[in-house]
Subunit: 386 residues, 2 copies
């Protein structure tokens, strides 16, 4: 795999398939209108999922400059053809140098960009630009423009999905959900966790997935108590949970789903824990509606598990936004006051983890609707005992 | 998949399998000895591949503080069990807050860390810490310690692989190379590129790979002229190249390999281009030896392609380092003066791309030895016509 031109920006799970049908111009217009109300004359978009959202580029190296006068997209020679093919609403420039250096040089050379020119303000994405890149930009731009940190400008817009995005997400969720049938055929004693993952990932590819949205989690036995137990060489044994947490990327949009099954004769406390997690998950789903805060949704799940005496084993937050990225805004966690709005897509995924014993997690994707919520994940949540 | 605690550090391709047998203490000692010769009293390691290299942690959220007195590792509650199981040579601390906030708070609260305390200097990894994280650290640390940017401190050490690492890389390369046999069985007209990828990825998983080291590139026909043509829904047609560029991660180490095959009756100019790329690749491999610069290696490949009249179609650099990350130091590119040293592992992957027509790339992994080089990739480079 060919390396990038010197500095690597954080590469997200983005795909090559052209983002057909997306209304990039409307997104750019909205951002430009928003910029007009701020102190920024321009925004340098460097976070690749944001770049993709705004202009459709799906490669691993690119910068988008958004200004009142128009947009400019910069990438390196590896993406020459691809950028010209994919990018919508921006002038494409191919650079032979590191793209940050190139962009800074171009801005610095502009007519009227000297020390005596009127001060302009360029926003940079402080959550994604590295400290070194920021320093490089500041030094190359000299005093021609003020460099100002921004956070979440594009991410906030991305929280509410438009119709095209919801269509993509629905398709990804459908393909993702289909893989669970394959998992149920495969999970049995003596099968390795990675073998289950292999079968699911193969089915995903054959169903058109560009890739998995994160490394598949298949965590059996005591490993099910690891909230992030990626599929290992461990063999599944009778008498334990198997946590399956997986997702696919389709047309650049992620799915995310967890189901937990039991292998062998089930124990009473395990079934009780499963029932409690399911009840907590349902309570959180029911709490999703426009105007509710993400903290209230988290609290709904936490309350049920606390009542069941399992509160201290629920060690993570209840969910997160999903879209172009597997983890995006809003976080669904204790104490947060972000209000839900129609079009937001979040996961609801409480879990309990008893170290050395077992763990359970159940996760659906949910879209906030005008009147409440719609659960996108079609898979039954009844406990499967294999 | 469960979200992180507020700020996401760039998640690299790291795996859950415990890094058994690695000599983490020696690596920490070496870094500490190096720090003693610099102006830094401590280094805050936030780049996850560096964290893994130094203490063995394989999760997606962690910070390692390296000081003369010892190391401290901080992660969030999702990785409680896993961190205690994996981390070597560092005190493990589990945080319920964002780990950057937690780390800064801990440093700020230390005895003698007030405004009047002797000034100490904390190095941060400027190529990986975001501008926002840097600002947060600086503000939370107040004036107790000076914050100074560092670049490449751990990456430079990682360039030269130790014996344990070379063993892992050899195994990854072997498993990776095995997948090409599967590709050759599958590639034929009317098969989709993603189907070839699916078969290779399934074989990788069944052979124990933790995951692919990057999205598999299967680029057929005119798509072979895309240097980064990820496998798409496109059907393979007769009369064109198929560029296959793939890699696996095994025990946390990456393989990376490219082979290009022709489907159908071969055209003369295509065969000539293949021969030229092969000659260029061999020339670059032959140029690898201790003391040679990466620029000289790049130049060896470029010279051959220029002579064949294909110089302007070789649009990227000749190679890059490979190890815990798929792209790491050193870059093998024009004009760079980094000298090769025994133990460095690099790719050699020249290619030519004729837009709208086709592309060819051939890539091996090579380790620099005391006397020259050893090509790790065992696969034949003779042109396969299917």
């Amino acid at each position: 795999m060919i390396g990038p031109v010197r500095i690597k920006l954080c590469i997200a799970a983005v795909a090559l398939i052209k983002s057909a049908g997306m209304n990039f111009l409307a997104r750019q217009k909205k951002l430009r209108e928003h910029l007009a109300t701020t102190r920024f004359d321009a925004l340098l978009v460097s976070h690749l999922p944001n770049v993709r959202y705004l202009c459709g580029f799906t490669g691993s190296s690119g910068l988008l400059l958004v200004e009142a006068a128009g947009c400019q997209f910069l990438t390196d020679a590896r993406y020459d053809m691809q950028a010209h093919d994919e990018v919508v609403g921006a002038k494409v420039v191919i650079s032979r140098r590191n793209i940050v250096t190139e962009m800074a040089g171009r801005l610095g050379r502009r007519k009227g960009a000297g020390r005596r020119a009127p001060r302009k303000t360029l926003g940079i994405e402080a959550d994604h630009v590295t400290a070194a890149e920021r320093k490089q930009l500041a030094s190359l731009l000299r005093s021609s423009r003020g460099l100002r940190d921004t956070t979440g400008l594009v991410e906030d817009a991305r929280m509410v999905k438009d119709k095209d995005e919801l269509d993509c997400i629905r398709k990804a969720v459908r393909v993702g959900a289909g893989l669970f049938e394959r998992a149920l055929q495969v999970i049995r004693p003596k099968v390795k966790e990675v073998e289950v993952a292999a079968e699911m990932e193969y089915a995903a590819r054959m169903a058109g997935a560009e890739e998995m949205s994160f490394p598949t989690i298949i965590a059996s036995g005591a490993r099910s108590a690891l909230p992030h137990g990626r599929a290992s060489e461990e063999e599944i044994k009778p008498g334990g949970f198997v946590v399956c947490d997986w997702g696919v990327i389709l047309s650049g949009y992620c799915s995310d789903q967890t189901r937990t099954v039991w292998v062998g004769p089930i124990e009473n406390d395990a079934r009780a824990a499963y029932d409690a997690v399911l009840e907590a998950q349902q309570a959180a789903v029911d709490a999703v509606k426009p105007g509710a805060t993400v903290g209230e949704v988290d609290s709904a799940a936490r309350k049920v598990l606390r009542k069941a005496g399992l509160g201290r084993y629920f060690t993570h937050s209840t969910g997160h936004g999903v879209g172009i990225e597997i983890h995006e805004s809003p976080r669904v966690a204790a104490g947060l006051v972000q209000e839900l709005r129609p079009g937001m897509v979040i996961t609801i995924e409480p879990g309990v983890y008893l170290p050395g014993k077992w763990g359970v997690r159940i996760e659906d994707m949910v879209v906030v609707t005008d009147r409440g919520r719609e659960v996108l994940t079609p898979t039954s949540k009844e406990l499967v005992v294999l």
